[in-house]
Symmetry: C2
Subunit: 344 residues, 2 copies
């Protein structure tokens, strides 16, 4: 009987750096023969490791298996919908092998990568063609609805989502793009590698008032769109410089990463300024685009990727036993780009 | 040569109640013969008097003519676009007679009432088929985008805009409608006359927290839409009770009425709560719908009016010399409904 290995939390981490000792790789048997109608076996090709997982490790029962985004290949099937060799992205336990049914997978988010990538490219399903890609695509294309020549401001510009938003804006939609991120190294990457027109090192800025001034200068009189990843002074400075008919997309897949307190993050807003300007502030998460319920995320992003217009930095490690180290790297800054753990 | 009479401000009103002595009706000659190509004469049938005009009377040169929304009939024309007997709504000086050109009228907002009303019904062009109607229509239909069975909250529910929003929601779109206004008399009107399901007397409410609680009870667990006319605790209570996929339309044509200070009206907002809920906050003014650039405001509202689904209370006085009194009535509460001054 085949064996599945699963990333398992063995001790909770109330605070501080996650260490490999907090995790264990646990083996279990999986029945892959005599599949019932609608059932199939998914072999994991790669797993993600994301900062947002950190807040879920503070409390709860242990040992417990961890879950997140993975890409897998169907290796045995009694399902017409999920035939052998299909490549699928999904939110599932971090296991090397999954016995699934059509019903079971319908209860989580999944997306069919088969027409878009080969097994060798599986890690793309965690980046450009995964959650960060769908967040960038949905938020920019359908929430912000860009017009050519408009000016976009993006916070967390060096991150997977922010960098892809900027690349789509610049290389696909012909916008002017100003980023914000922390530190001169990231600033240089945002400009030189991701091709942003300009970037603000927010660590050198004292507050919303100063950021407003800098943003006004760099945008030469105001921005048309803001892709919000962080809140706080960035939101207020963006609202202060937002032009008539301006839009703000508030993104979920980043802001929750460090959301480790129950205190609501309140901003101030002058709604009377939104009236004559027809301004709009809208929240969203990637799910409708990732699942295909809305838009043509996979088709469009894969085309733009092939054309060299949009890419996502990857930092790949090999082997499920490396998952705990890869996860730790997120908090020590060791990784450069989206962390992907390849499974042998 | 025909004579035009024009409502003229003769002394500024820094504070306090506008008195008839602040105004004068000034006569001037208008050349209505030998019209150039594209020119036409518009005879005013009725004029509006709105609270928003108040803040514009505090300073500036006097004497000066006042402007606002009027409805008029073309009585002489050398314009194919504006033939004789056309009935037009427009933002123009409060004059009984206008010599206009196609170019001149293109620089203000105007809308063609000819297919929709007769001369006798001209005052409809200041209400259901005018600025308040377009504000209610555009904000509700195109900004809030209602679904049948959803729950709407409307502030200033007894006013022209708020009452029409509620009627469209209830009688056209099959929504549940909760209003807010000040005092038991207005509350009764909102429920009995305008047919709202429920109404909150905000004068009995201490703050956003209490209003949130009341709104949660009355809506039985949350609202889907909020039509914002006032700001302050209403906005915050609405955001607190807004359901997933909820929308807030921030309306311009009311909130500026009492906007007599330069101090921005700041609200607090927890944008992180808008993310996983896909919530949207959007500002707007009536212009695109009133001008016909967007939607089918005149067609739809006139049909709903004829079917008895949407109406607007009118308080009609006769004669341009009564305009100053009618304007004063807005601030003493003497009027019941939209103030219209009919011109002989």
């Amino acid at each position: 009987m085949p064996t599945a290995q699963t990333v398992t939390l063995v001790s909770t981490i109330p605070s501080g750096l996650p260490e490999p000792s907090h995790f264990s790789i646990v083996s279990s048997d999986v029945t892959t023969s005599n599949l019932e109608t609608g059932s199939f076996v998914l072999q994991t090709l790669c797993m993600s490791a994301d900062p947002y997982l950190r807040s879920g490790l503070k409390t709860g029962d242990v040992p417990r298996p961890l879950s997140g985004f993975i890409v897998g290949k169907v290796t045995a099937s009694n399902s017409e919908k999920y035939p052998v060799n299909n490549i699928i992205g999904a939110a599932l336990p971090f296991s090397t092998l999954h016995l699934l049914s059509e019903e079971k997978i319908s209860k989580t988010i999944s997306w069919d990568l088969t027409p878009h990538i080969t097994e060798e490219d599986a890690t793309l399903g965690l980046g450009v063609l995964g959650m960060p890609g769908a967040t960038a695509y949905g938020g920019f294309i359908d929430v912000l609805r860009p017009q050519e020549g408009e000016t976009l401001f993006v916070s967390s510009a060096a991150g997977a989502v922010g960098s892809m938003v900027g690349q789509i804006a610049k290389n696909v939609k012909g916008c002017k793009v100003i980023g914000s991120c922390g530190g001169p190294e990231k600033n240089a990457i945002v400009k030189d590698k991701f091709g942003f027109d300009d970037c603000i090192d927010y660590k050198t800025i004292k507050g919303a008032e100063e950021l407003t001034k800098v943003l006004e200068e760099k945008s030469e009189g105001g921005i048309n769109m803001y892709f919000e990843n962080v809140g706080g002074m960035h939101f207020e400075a963006a609202m202060n410089t937002l032009k008539p008919h301006g839009r703000v997309a508030i993104c979920g897949c980043i802001s929750r990463y460090n959301d480790d307190s129950a205190t609501p993050k309140l901003n101030t807003i002058d709604i009377s300024k939104m009236i004559y300007t027809f301004q709009r502030v809208e929240g969203f998460v990637c799910m409708p685009w990732l699942s295909g319920a809305r838009g043509k995320f996979l088709e469009d992003m894969n085309e733009w990727r092939k054309e060299g217009k949009v890419g996502c930095e990857q930092w790949v490690v090999e082997g499920i036993e490396k998952w705990p180290e890869a996860f730790q790297a997120l908090f020590t800054g060791k990784n450069t780009g989206k962390v992907c753990v390849k499974i042998g």
